[in-house]
Symmetry: C3
Subunit: 338 residues, 3 copies
């Protein structure tokens, strides 16, 4: 299916040799072939740029021989159809991304910009007229603030960031290259309920949210500010839609959180951990570096570095799977003997 | 309790005979009785229109004899109190809806409309002045765009649609009669994390969201656009609040998803399937037509058409329930013998 | 870490004696010490106000001797370091909140206000110019409506409320001192799917949402209006981010719902109940006063007052924990004998 040019602007055609240069890939094949679009590898047609990042060599069904060019690791390049120009790199999917930017550009919001910008909004920033920029907020070079987004007073946003439509950011310092998708809520008051003489009361929250460089935050995800200290999201951590990050959580680098992940107050997650969809972590729990948490797990105690846990309450995944299988066996046996 | 006229405008009184005509129902009883409101069947008072759609005949507690009129299937009409005019139809609840429209009208947003509309916004469409309409977006007859909603460039929206307050729609083609409630996020980038030379990177997303006729999408629900192809929601599928539909999901017709349903990437769901609250489905899994998934289930493999599954990991519901009961029995027994 | 004055305005320094007076606390120590900030008790430095609300007396690591003053219950006051002025009250954390308001003020949105207000918006209310106020909506004294928030026609909002950025409220009556955080959706149509001659149809919803005094509603949380009657949230109930409250739910006073709580249609929850994160309740279920529901529980039947339940399906928590432990033991044993 061709890319819909109502949403993505065509910048091509671009010769494969030029894409090889842009993505710093080694070209094996015809560099004069023209690229006009992108497509999944199995269904790529004439003019399409694709990638193959499988661990085994591509088979006949994996790469359509009509494709114009395919990013691939050097060791698998020879397995591509002869008709497809190979672009060899150690990171085929990533390199494809770099090249694709020269072929297609998302049309973005195409907002008419405000005629005058506050002094602390960089001249190259794009701010939708309907966005709210609070007093003293600073917006860096080339950052885009979407329609009806709300940036609170004093918020600092770095360079090359994208703040989506209807998103809100307050009490927060945001690095460079950060993407905050539509409807995300950054810096709201955390949930601190305490008793008082009249009943339940909210504990006021005096902290901030710190979001480091190249973090991505999904649509309608919420990240609360710290109670006194900070909630921190480390470099290149990627967070899916509809996640909840409570106050004083500290997340390291390159962590991935799938949709509906729920991180309770004061949890720490070390670098490179991965949470499946709907995984939840109870407050003050520590998750070691590179730990993996299965979808739908409920974690109530520390997970050591590198381990994979699942279930509610979460336990090492093999143990959980053995329990599930054993229980199923008891029932099957009981059924038969009856 | 009478309907609050600050939120719903009274259009009545309307004679029962007129409502019978509008809803194509067979009237048994007094057609001159005037209807002024709607109410639950058990508590309906004078002037109230109600419906009974139970499988057994209504008992004395089911229908208040003060009610003005009641939609009911023909076989149960005689069981209504004599004082209540019966309106017989095969779909009592649905027919009640048709008639109720002649009695009450939600006041809606009552936005002051923009003085001039872009050429591709139909003259009968209502667009709140604070809504953002991107370049080239088209809005059909009688469609209402709520306050502070954001419609991205090139988006196509059909006739008789409602886009709620603060909702955002981008990279999407929307059919007729579609309702997208407040804060829903249609067409955001899907969650595609990949490795690169510097750490985690987002895979760019070049696809679209296709929403077919009469689909309803709940508040703050997120539907991501496809990576290269489309995310598709089939005709009359109804999605509750706070659901997540990832990239490249394909959902058939008349599917119902309760709140917090989470559908991972490239899942396919056939016509008429039903998901309970918080049901989750792992990526690439196929759900057969008419399958039912219990609340809180976590589905990691294919569910055949027409089956009902539950639990985490999901299994046929009877098996899951037997396991739950058996385990409970072991503990009770152990407790007694101790 | 000092509080960031880009987000919180310093109102101090304030002498401890003055804070004792404001919070109606008994001062034990030097009333002339000046307070300039707030901090966690263990890390509080010179000028910082803190609180200790533990059940046992504070140990040496609990309270930093550099802190200026500490709210504490009278029985634990003597265990504070001599260098820290004690402020004795029965509710240390709550009293700290009262005093902290004299030391620091959140900068809020600092919106430029509309020049003229509709007649039913109180002169002391602050309404962001980009907020939408529907026809006939009333806004009480000192209530703040954030940027790009949407208040539907006829909505009544009391005194001293805060409506966050990009939040929307419709078909609702809101009491005094209510906080609705950014992106919350109050009063959307509930999820009522019914069959009709053409397939699935939405049942129209004619009810309201009633939110009583001092309720707090988290970011991106959704509360649907009733079908014919009302959805009701009782006084001082506190709801975290990303919760779902369906139509016709009735929640009592001082109830706490942690993040991702999901309350299905027509559920009733009595006063003082507490739901952990991601707890879900099936429709029409009744939860007794003071009941506690563990995180990730799925409740399918009534929980008596005062009991604590967990698991899916939920059962008394001790039973659930015994089942979990017993199952784990079977597997460990089986493993060893193999």
């Amino acid at each position: 299916m061709p890319i819909d040019d109502r949403f993505y602007e065509s910048l091509g055609p671009v010769p494969v040799a030029e894409l090889a240069r842009l993505a710093e890939a080694e070209l094996r094949g015809d560099g004069a072939v023209l690229v006009t679009g992108v497509a999944p590898t199995a269904s790529a047609g004439p003019g399409d740029l694709c990638y193959f990042d499988g661990k085994r060599p591509p088979g006949p069904a994996d790469v359509n021989p009509q494709a114009a060019a395919c990013f691939v690791t050097p060791e698998h390049a020879d397995a591509l159809p002869d008709s497809v120009s190979a672009l060899c790199t150690p990171f085929p999917r990533y390199s494809h991304t770099l090249a694709a930017r020269a072929v297609l550009r998302p049309r973005g919001w195409q907002v008419a910009e405000s005629e005058s910008k506050p002094s602390n909004v960089h001249q190259t920033a794009q701010v939708a007229p309907s966005a709210f920029i609070g007093a003293g907020a600073a917006i860096g070079d080339r950052t885009v603030i979407g329609p009806n987004a709300v940036i609170g007073p004093g918020v600092q946003i770095g360079r090359d960031c994208e703040i989506g439509a209807n998103a809100s950011v307050q009490c927060a310092l945001i690095g460079n290259g950060v993407k905050i998708y539509s409807g995300a809520r950054i810096g709201e008051s955390g949930f601190g309920v305490m008793g008082g003489p009249y009943g339940a009361e909210d504990a006021p929250q005096y902290g901030r949210v710190i979001i480091q460089d190249y973090v991505t935050i999904g649509a309608n995800t919420c990240i609360d500010r710290g109670a006194f200290d900070d909630t921190i999201i480390g470099e290149r951590t990627k967070i899916d839609n509809l996640c909840q990050i409570a106050h004083n959580v500290v997340i390291g680098r390159n962590v991935a959180l799938a949709s509906f992940a729920g991180i309770s107050g004061s949890v720490t997650i070390e670098d490179g951990a991965m949470l499946g969809g709907r995984a939840g972590i109870a407050d003050h729990v520590h998750i070691g570096a590179g730990a993996q948490i299965a979808a739908a797990a409920g974690v109530f105690r520390e997970i050591p570095a590198g381990e994979t846990w699942g279930g509610v309450p979460a336990r090492p995944i093999r143990q959980w799977m053995r329990e599930v299988a054993w229980l199923q066996k008891q029932i099957s046996g009981e059924k038969k003997t009856k």
